[in-house]
Point group: C2
Chain length 376, copies 2
């Protein structure tokens, strides 16, 4: 385990940490946000724009890239770095999230996940071993173990479930299988340059998540992720679970909260000690014309922006706000001109990435709590 | 007429000319190509990318912007320049092309063109006077007269029609009406900063086009356009018509061939003395994965590009070729990721814009013919 080298904590402020992940493709200052590049591209946004917006690391989707173009194609082009032109660090998910997002198109058994591809109808079996092989072929700087990600809503106790309450049999079974798969993923590693993170499951049960965290940590990974959250549960409840789980994870290794993007929720999780985030929200909201700003969210398709010559956020240093007005973005979004989605996505990404830059500075200065209260 | 100031010819090579249009928003070196920004944006491509690709002037669509967001909105934001962030010269068409492209949704009479909007079903009457008022409100550097643009294919003599042959009654009537509208457009001018170009019609009849050119020139405009071409006619025939028409137009004023984009056809028209072009082809082809290169067109969606790590054109200096491979573009186009369309559009625009840069240098050096033969 290259733990000491891979991650270092430079400053602490309460439970929040400011640190660095050292990957073969560069340093990631934490807490960090990874824009989502499902197919190896952030929708409509080019690598140089991502760099200019402050992105340090991108997240690609293992399952989708395994289907198209296939990891062999990408490996032959120098991995995701050479293939996409994003030469900075790459994080890859394992395909586990597709267990939730494509739930009606797959069967899970002990071997792995069998997908009926929506593309060609062919069946594809994703095993823990294959998930690692694909991620290594993609040249991931950080890979994830294959997990069985089950939305807690499926027959699980409600959000209000007391800490330590019983999880449904289904969530318990998925959590235990995730642990067995984690061990298989660990054994399947071949490429030393790729760090591997384990994933904690356990639905909304604190007891089960603690148990999952303890057992996953016992296997030994380069970092740990909270899986199966961000699926509709109460944000306060999620935060409690995250904090409780941290007590069971190695203090000195990075913690990754998967799939959480709303700016307030990111800062709350940073306060709880999370080091890494990813989410489609900045780009998805951008495509729909919803822009994060220092004064709250703006729905730029609304008629009130038709004649608004101001930039979306006068306090923003992004390339969109430097050059374009609400009126222009409103128009582009209304006529479905793709440049509108792109400019809005760049703004939202910069907003979230700057938020984390500011958070890192605030933690280093020991004033994170005041910063967090000042933002919203 | 600010003729002498608006346009100057710096060099000639045969019938080809190398010159400059002086607009309030900057100089346009000619022969020039105007990328098409129908709704005030080149699909998916930002102003700074257009500048980097060598664009000097953009073309916006009067009819579509009149509908959405309306010229008053744009005028209040500082015209197209302030509204879109493209601060260089803007060319606007008059809406006349929609007489062809939306032929089943309009009625033309002496007043003007009544459109049944596909947007809201409302009827909108575009008169010559309104076409000028809209273009002036948009802050156009170069505006076009309203013409009745009729595809020659509609009942016209075939391409092989001998020079001077008779045009159909319909094309003759449209040509004569275009002339009456040109006079009304000229009388409707209010804004001195906007240059106004007249449009020659006449279908595929050389006699009628010459007659139209003579009469339009007699009215007096800042430049002249060939209208109603690029609608499927034989390219050699078109070139003959263009050359014949030039004999009837003021030698010292710019000539604009509307809607022609294939690189070979652009160079042929430059040889015949055309100074200005626009076309959707570079961006439309880009969206469909067809890329212009120094070795001919590439269809990047084809399977043979799946593993091709070379840039689309090793001789190209565009940002796409500098950073991305055929394999990556192939993948993006196949998964319908919009970044693919954008990167391909930027490449095609750069290809055409560089072609005209090279053409200008070749004309200035008196070696245009050799250059043209060397290109294809």
């Amino acid at each position: 385990m290259p733990q000491a080298r891979f991650f270092e904590i430079a400053a602490r402020d309460g439970a929040a940490r400011q640190g660095r992940m050292h990957t073969p493709s560069g340093v990631v200052e934490t807490p960090a946000f990874a824009p989502v590049a499902t197919f190896g591209a952030v929708r409509g946004v080019a690598p140089d724009e991502l760099r200019a917006a402050g992105a340090q690391i991108l997240l690609a989707n293992t399952y989708h890239l395994h289907e198209r173009p296939g990891e062999a194609v990408i490996e032959a082009q120098g991995g995701l770095h050479g293939f996409t032109g994003w030469r900075g660090p790459w994080l890859t998910d394992s395909g586990g999230f597709q267990v939730t997002s494509m739930a009606d198109r797959l069967v899970v058994d002990e071997d792995g996940v069998t997908f009926a591809s929506p593309l060609d109808g062919r069946r594809r079996l994703l095993t823990p071993e294959l998930a690692i092989a694909v991620q290594e072929a993609l040249g991931a700087d950080i890979a994830m173990t294959l997990d069985e990600c089950r939305a807690p809503a499926y027959g699980d106790p409600p959000d209000a479930e007391p800490a330590g309450g019983a999880a449904s049999l289904r969530v318990r079974a998925a959590t235990e299988r995730t642990l067995r798969w984690a061990a298989r993923c660990r054994a399947a590693r071949r490429r030393r340059a790729t760090a591997l993170f384990g994933i904690v499951q356990g639905g909304l049960s604190e007891a089960l998540r603690r148990e999952s965290a303890r057992a996953t940590a016992a296997l030994g990974f380069d970092g740990y992720a909270h899986g199966g959250l961000g699926l509709g549960e109460n944000a306060a409840r999620r935060l409690d679970l995250v904090a409780a789980t941290h007590a069971e994870l190695p203090e000195l290794l990075p913690r990754y909260l998967m799939g959480i993007g709303p700016p307030e929720e990111i800062l709350d999780a940073v306060a709880a000690g999370v080091d890494l985030f990813d989410c489609v929200i900045p780009t998805r909201h951008g495509r729909h014309g919803v822009l994060f700003t220092s004064r709250g969210s703006l729905k730029l398709r609304n008629a009130r922006f038709r004649d608004d010559g101001a930039p979306p956020d006068p306090d923003c240093d992004c390339s969109t706000c430097a050059q374009h007005s609400c009126a222009y973005l409103h128009h582009l979004l209304r006529v479905n001109e793709v440049l509108g989605a792109r400019l809005a996505s760049v703004h939202n990404l910069r907003f979230v990435l700057r938020l984390l830059e500011d958070a890192r500075r605030a933690i280093a200065a020991g004033r994170f709590d005041a910063f967090r209260r000042s933002v919203f």
